[in-house]
């Protein structure tokens, strides 16, 4: 029941918001806030209710949905150690997104409704245990994203929104084929049963099926060379959307690779492991190098996401319990850190209305709190120990090093690159001589701004110093998976 509430509560709230009368328009944010908070509380409660020792899926709900002969779909949701943390991440970042959007006054009803629908669909992706349900939610997320970017965005927002949607649709088109082929062979869309199925004689060679699914997820992750939608989407999206996009939407890709590609087709995963690790390492480096050249703060962070998400793939490619756990942890860590980063950039942008690094400078003097937050986020982003990113990165490296020494050695160079671009950005934006054109600007001052920044920062620290809290949830699931992979 909890999962259904998580999925449908925001959807219902979105409907409520849309039905608000015009004069209560500005109250939409409160409805959204209450909803997001309720979701967060509920998911956290689930997180602690979750039985860490029992394997398999928990909180499972199963209903028949479409039952037409061979076309047999279920409403089947549940969480395990992989998806539960991601669900919590989603609700957490939804809350953060709602809070950072508190100052949105342009068509607030539609805005918050979109945001909630987005949350609903992302949660749906993470908890669906039926392939078709999964795909449905996967596609559903496009609407709100498209509208959010194209209406409330900036710059070339229409271009970016369209690019985002087309890219995702293209990826999911491939994914759909893979899903259909798999489901045809196993005669079911149930992920658990698919995982148990032995695929023989599929319509397509299983490797192709893997590849088809992989493409869909790689677009989302994103993996070089399928990444160019990300910088555009990020740079033109409003803050909250960047938070959601970097924070949870990219994770859908990594989640999909683990949940579908690797779990359902372990043999193929074995054949392709070196490729995955190699592409992951390549993404890390490539993203890092290109990030160094970015002159727009948001684009910079977007490219850094490309680099960081490469690590996820590297960890997955290791196909071991450590690598997979690290990959999952990296998704969480990156979600929080980049979320925080975009919040900070958003706060800054709200005041300066520019993201051009060249136009900024010395802001730490005018807005010390924002600068502090930015430095904190930057440090987390470059993988500073005691913050979440470090644990994730090192776990990935340790997990993958046994099998792919060179890939790991190559990608640890990314650690230096990330220090390079983050510090360069901080130096240019926050430090240096004061620019008096920004003298009028205020520091962060609203309670929601404080709450978001402090909350996310606290979580980043918590994940950095007490990883066991989450690792203990992720690990059993990944160990089981790894055992299956070794078999």
């Amino acid at each position: 029941m909890e999962l259904s509430i998580l999925i449908f509560l925001p959807a219902i709230a979105a409907a409520v918001i849309l039905l608000l009368p015009q004069r209560l328009e500005q109250q939409a944010r409160w409805v959204a806030l209450v909803t997001a908070a309720a979701m967060f509380v509920l998911s956290v409660q689930m997180f602690f209710q979750f039985d860490r020792d029992a394997g398999g899926y928990q909180f499972v709900e199963r209903h028949r949905w479409v039952d037409i002969g061979a076309f047999n779909l279920q409403y089947l949701v549940g969480v395990d150690g992989l998806s539960l943390p991601l669900v919590v991440l989603t609700t957490c970042l939804t809350l953060a997104s709602v809070l950072v959007s508190f100052s949105v006054t342009h068509r607030p009803r539609a805005y918050f409704a979109c945001l909630l629908v987005l949350a609903s669909s992302v949660v749906g992706v993470f908890v669906s245990l039926d392939l078709m349900l999964f795909f449905l939610f996967w596609e559903l997320e496009l609407f709100p994203m498209y509208l959010l970017i194209s209406i409330w965005g900036s710059g070339r927002k229409e271009y970016s929104a369209t690019k985002f949607v087309l890219y995702t649709i293209a990826g999911s088109a491939f994914m759909l084929i893979g899903i259909l082929v798999l489901a045809f062979d196993a005669q079911t869309f149930d992920i658990e049963r698919l995982a148990a199925a032995e695929f023989q004689d599929t319509l397509l060679p299983l490797g192709w099926v893997f590849f088809l699914l992989f493409i869909g997820f790689a677009v989302k992750l994103p993996i070089v060379p399928l990444h160019t939608w990300l910088p555009d989407a990020h740079s033109d999206a409003p803050t909250a959307v960047s938070v959601m996009l970097a924070g949870v939407l990219l994770k859908m890709g990594g989640y999909g690779i683990i949940r579908l590609c690797v779990t359902l087709m372990p043999e193929v995963a074995h054949d392709w492991d070196a490729w995955m690790a190699g592409i992951g390492a390549f993404s890390v480096l490539y993203g890092g190098f290109i990030t160094l050249r970015q002159t727009d703060v948001k684009r910079l962070i977007a490219y850094s996401s490309v680099s960081h998400m490469g690590l996820v793939l590297l960890g997955i490619g290791a196909l071991g319990s450590t690598g997979l756990t690290g990959a999952t942890y990296q998704m969480l860590a990156h979600g929080l850190i980049t979320g925080l980063m975009f919040v900070m950039i958003g706060l800054m942008y709200e005041r300066t209305h520019t993201r051009e690094i060249a136009r900024l400078g010395g802001l730490a003097r005018q807005m010390p709190l924002i600068a502090t937050g930015m430095v904190f986020a930057g440090m987390a982003s470059l993988g500073l120990p005691a913050l979440a990113g470090f644990i994730a990165e090192v776990t990935v490296f340790l997990g993958a090093f046994q099998r792919f020494e060179w890939a790991v050695l190559a990608s640890i160079v990314g650690v230096v690159l990330s220090a390079g671009y983050i510090l360069w950005m901080l130096q240019r934006v926050m430090f240096g001589p004061v620019r008096h054109e920004w003298d009028e600007l205020s520091d962060q001052r609203h309670w929601w701004e404080h709450t978001v920044v402090a909350g996310l920062a606290a979580l980043v620290v918590l994940l950095g110093v007490y990883p066991a809290l989450i690792m203990d949830v992720i690990e059993p699931a990944m160990t089981t998976l790894a055992a299956r992979l070794q078999a």
């Binding site: 005691a386 046994q402 640890i412 430090f431 790894a482």
Partner: protein, 651 residues
Amino acid sequence: MLFLAAEPSAAATPTIDQAVLWAIMACPLVAWGLIALYLRKVPVLAGYAAILGIGAAMALSYATLFNVIDADGGIAQYTHEWFTAGELAVPIGVRVDGLTAVMLVVVTTVAFLVQVYSTGYMHGDPGYGRYFAHMCLFTTSMLGLVLADNLFQMFVFWELVGLCSYLLIGFWFHKPSAAAAAKKAFIVTRIGDLGLLAALLLIWTRAGTFDVTQIQEWAASGEVKSTVVTLFALGLFAGAAGKSAQFPLHVWLPDAMEGPTPVSALIHAATMVAAGVYLVARFFPVFEASSDAADVVAWIGAITALLAATIALVQTDLKRVLAYSTVSQLGYMMLSLGALGYVAAMFHLFTHAFFKALLFLGSGSVNHATNTFDMRKMGGLRKHMPVTYWTFVIGSLSLAGIFPLAGFWSKDEILLDAWRHDRALWAIGAAVAFMTAFYMFRAIFLTFHGSYKGGEPVDHHDPDNHFHGDPAHPHESPWSMKAPLLVLAVPSIAAGWFAYDHMFKDFIEAALPHAAHHGSTFELGIAISSTVIALAGIGTAYALYIQRWADPASIRATFAPLAIVFERKYFLDDLYETVFVRNIFYRGWCRLLETVDRRVVDGAVNGTGRLGRAVSAQLRTIQVGEVQSYGIGVAAGVVVIFLAVILANPL
């Protein structure tokens, strides 16, 4: 959870409670938290909180030290599980032994004194609270690094001290040079940290442990392939080289002088930069097991020592002289470690911490009076600031290695080890010793002797300038600054006396698994020769800068090419920054990739879109609007379909 009882690992262990060890870290951390959250805007309290927190840590450190001494340098280790990720199990724990105890004491003592000093030095700075917060965080991290019982944890704190170093170098972030220096420090040390990270990965995959003791035993067991040990050792050393500013990664340390002077004293002279030495010492058996790695360490150390000393000869900035001196001395320590002089290196680290901190604080005091570090604008300060002068001289003498000051004993041991290991190393060491004595006294003579040249005028329009004296009339610093100088003068003189009866040696060697004899501590010939060399250096400086037997400028002109090389720091900064980073890397490689990304990768995407529209526009022209063409389409369809069927599947 952290304080759950754990089995101590060694039998003859110190009885110190692990809570004390954790508390050593916790005290400054609490102070940090208090300052960061509540006392940022209350400068006085912030300073006191920092002093209190670090003072408490210092007290506990001394307690620990005496406890370890009581246990004859035995090892106490308390390990817990931090987290597990699949096969990976990461421990968290504390380990205390002679090495740790010495480091604890050095770190907390210097830190404490520097905090006291800072209350005077940083007085009136708008970032006063922030300063102390960073200092507390640094102390915590440094203590954590020292106390760590495993490489992973060490790495964590290793990076954290790097962060604090970054924050403190860039403390005056509005100065572009400070911001750039901070960034440079972080990135350059991170390059070294790659090696450390690789070592971390290697040790986990090959030895399956991060534990210090186990790694030492693993290396000492001799069952491991030597390349693995060598690679591991080199990885560690790469990290150490970054932190300890060894060639070719030394370039960040001189720039780090952009930070407040107390910071330079604490972080960039006494503690953090010594962490590299500490790391190598911590894993000394690994280097013992790999002579190749040891040689690399020794020679890198020697090169660094020589390089930095030569550059220090020509510096005009007091702090930079000290900075290069630090680099040079760190090279000395590395040289010693590479020459398998474990004890000597640690001993030098120990003594160096005090006198170098003293020198830095002294230079800060000078700056406090003159608003500058440029020695060409000073002179004659001896009269105005006697305490500063005399403590500075003590520090310099100690650094130069004059009997019986602290530096003499430790430097002497290093030269002895070098002599025994490789004469070439000794020769370099001796040359460096000469240069050290020379440039230190050159600095003293330029700064404190002669006539005062007026200092740097205060720019009152600069909101960041909190200088509140009058550079035209230099005065002695307040007691908050003088007291630490005086206190530090004591160990600068006396710290070397621990060499008596192998006291330090035995104590610190107990930290190693197989207590071998790592060199004796004294040999008269070496001692005399080094003293002579040092005196020669002082004499030369006296001759040139006091007696003016020769004009330094003309000497410089004579050796112009060499002087330029020194002054331009062997062109290394230019090579790195301009040639490599900016041109080859940034404007070449990254730009190439970015262009590829924009034009090719993204271009393919946009190109597909454009192609689609173009194809669409072309295709639509077949809709000419004439009905016959449409009918022809139909008829052609029939023909084509029929032919296709027949061809595919003949009758």
